[in-house]
């Protein structure tokens, strides 16, 4: 959680865009635009390649499995290429910035704990992970006192437990602590 630890520090993940020349600390939409278009192109290629593998022609019983997705892949690729070329030529989108650095820092302060949270669900179960996530946000960003934090951080998972496991009988992922308690 390095990004959120020290607000003065530069955020770890989204610093892929270079600082624009002489333009404050706004980040241009160019790199994100190109990145997403390239990603879509890769996905399009994956779709087309696999459609060719399963066959895009006709079999005895009708069109093969790749028949429809093949054209979907082609269209996706065409649209992505169009966007990519547009971005590289600098036309289409106005030169509106993608976001400020301070904004990206805030997004990272949300995204990084979110990644840890999802990873933690697999390890310690959803209840403990949720309590930790709520506590982290309330202490770190809300500057709440410990009693209020504890009440909400334990209360929300408890309510979730009662509603899902008890009332609707839907089991949620659990970890070693719940097993110790006998669930």
């Amino acid at each position: 959680m390095s990004a959120a630890h020290d607000t003065q520090a530069v955020p770890a993940s989204p610093a892929d865009a270079p600082a624009p020349e002489g333009g404050g600390d706004a980040i241009r939409a160019f790199w994100p635009e190109v990145g997403v278009a390239l990603l879509l192109l890769v996905l399009a290629a994956l779709v087309v390649v696999d459609s060719l593998r399963v066959g895009i022609g006709w079999a005895d019983d009708g069109p093969r499995s790749g028949y429809f997705p093949f054209y979907i892949g082609l269209l996706l690729g065409a649209a992505a290429t169009f966007i990519l070329v547009g971005a590289l030529r600098g036309r289409g989108e106005p030169a509106e910035p993608f976001a400020d650095r301070s904004q990206l820092r805030l997004v990272a302060a949300m995204l990084v704990p979110l990644v840890f949270y999802v990873a933690a669900i697999g390890l310690v179960g959803i209840y403990v992970a949720s309590a930790a996530l709520i506590a982290w946000f309330m202490l770190r960003h809300g500057r709440y006192r410990l009693p209020a934090t504890a009440a909400i951080a334990f209360g929300v998972p408890l309510v979730a437990f009662l509603v899902f496991e008890r009332w609707f009988l839907v089991p949620l992922p659990k970890g070693p602590i719940e097993r110790m308690l006998g669930f």
Binding site: P69, A79, L114, F164, L172
Partner: protein
Amino acid sequence: MQELNDLAGGFAVALTLPNIGFMVIGIVLGVLIGVLPGLGGANGVAILLPLTFSMSPTSAIIMLSCIYWGALFGGAITSILFNIPGEPWSVATTFDGHPMAQQGRAAQALTAAFTSSFVGALFAVLLITFTAPLLAKFALKFGPAEFFAVQLLTFCSFVGMSKEPPAKTLAAMMLGFALAAVGMDSVTGTLRMTYGQTELLKGFDFLIAVIGLFGIGEILLTMEEGLSFKGKSARISTKVVLQTWRELLTHWKLFIRSTAIGCWMGITPGGATPASFMSYGMARRMAKDPSSFGKGRIEGVVAPETAAHAAGTSALLPMLTLGIPGSPTAAVLLGGLLIWGLQPGPMLFIEQKDFVWGLIASMYLGNIVGLIVVLTTVPWWAAILRIPFSVIAPVIIVICAIGAYTVHSSMFDVVMMLVFGVVGYLFKKLRYPLAPLVLALVLGDMAESSFRQSMLLSQGSLGIFWANPLVGTLTTLALVMLVWPLIGKLRAGLGGPRRGGGGGGAVLAAPTAKTATDEGR
């Protein structure tokens, strides 16, 4: 008057005590979802869908559709009091709604918004009541080619009517189709695009996509704005309600116009958001003093709210009769129908009469219940918005994670929710529309199978899409919609210089210009 008999039967189904209870629960949950950032109609319904698997389908759809009405009502509260549109379709409501609140007329603005929502929805439900059975009967004659043509029209309309760049609309849509194709091919049983990953065998569930794109993505966007909720508080007294209603009666023409726009945009998949902008633009242009709009005119609240609700409600008409949803939330409801084992489409009106008419009756009742609930409970919802984001945000993330997990009891889905969340954030920032992605993901399999069936019938000739006047008209209309942005560009290129500098109102220039082209259609 077969419809009235059926409707009476529907009321008998909907008016049982448990179902009225589900209605109230649904409305309250819906308003809550509409008020909170990061939770909206589509992902709210998606998260709660797994909880309804054990309920009877009729009760379940009554509750879920009431969540939808509630979310439509709830969006107006945040727009007017906090200048934060809780839902995209209430953006236009902020233009005049928030200035009214700043002038101390919050109660009037809220009453006008809720009443307009109610009126818009009511007319849309009347439309559904009387046209749905006819449309369903008509659609019974549809073959695979006709169904594919209708689906083509749906998707091409997105390209033609979207505010976003056409290439990005197309890219988002094709991404949705591509994701829908992953996993086992339902016709031949072949595995596609799994690249050996066992997790991908069952494909991508659109519920996960909806929770990630709209929930996590929205939280990331909200976080970026720094978030400080500074709002006006409001209480609504009976006196103000009655006064406002009297004033609203004089705007009956505006109601009719806005309802018509809303119903049209809801049935064609324009959806509630463009409907609200279009209706606002129309009201502004047809007013005697357009310059007073944006400074707290009650008409500026009535027009977008009426249209948004009319569109949101009438989006269920194609969903029920053709199996083609008009909005992302309608798509999630459609997904629910499939999970409960009901095949949406014309046969629904024959085989599941109780269900369909129970749902339609619940639309009438749900909107009445909703109007009463929101008018009486506004102060509480305003109070909820004062809870700081540092508490709300992690709680909403927890709710989304639980919702994503419970769909298939799978950890992989929770990871995918996170991925879709980042995609949702990037797409919103880069102006890729999310609705076509979701609709393509939902309808992908259906569109593919109707396309393949058509191809089987015609032995691979595309001529089948022009084989008779009906399918030919639909297909041609779809292609016209597809190239519509090009036509618009050509016309703008020819007419632009001649018109000269007549563009007043910089903020609203875009939606108003959009209105002009849409009208010409």
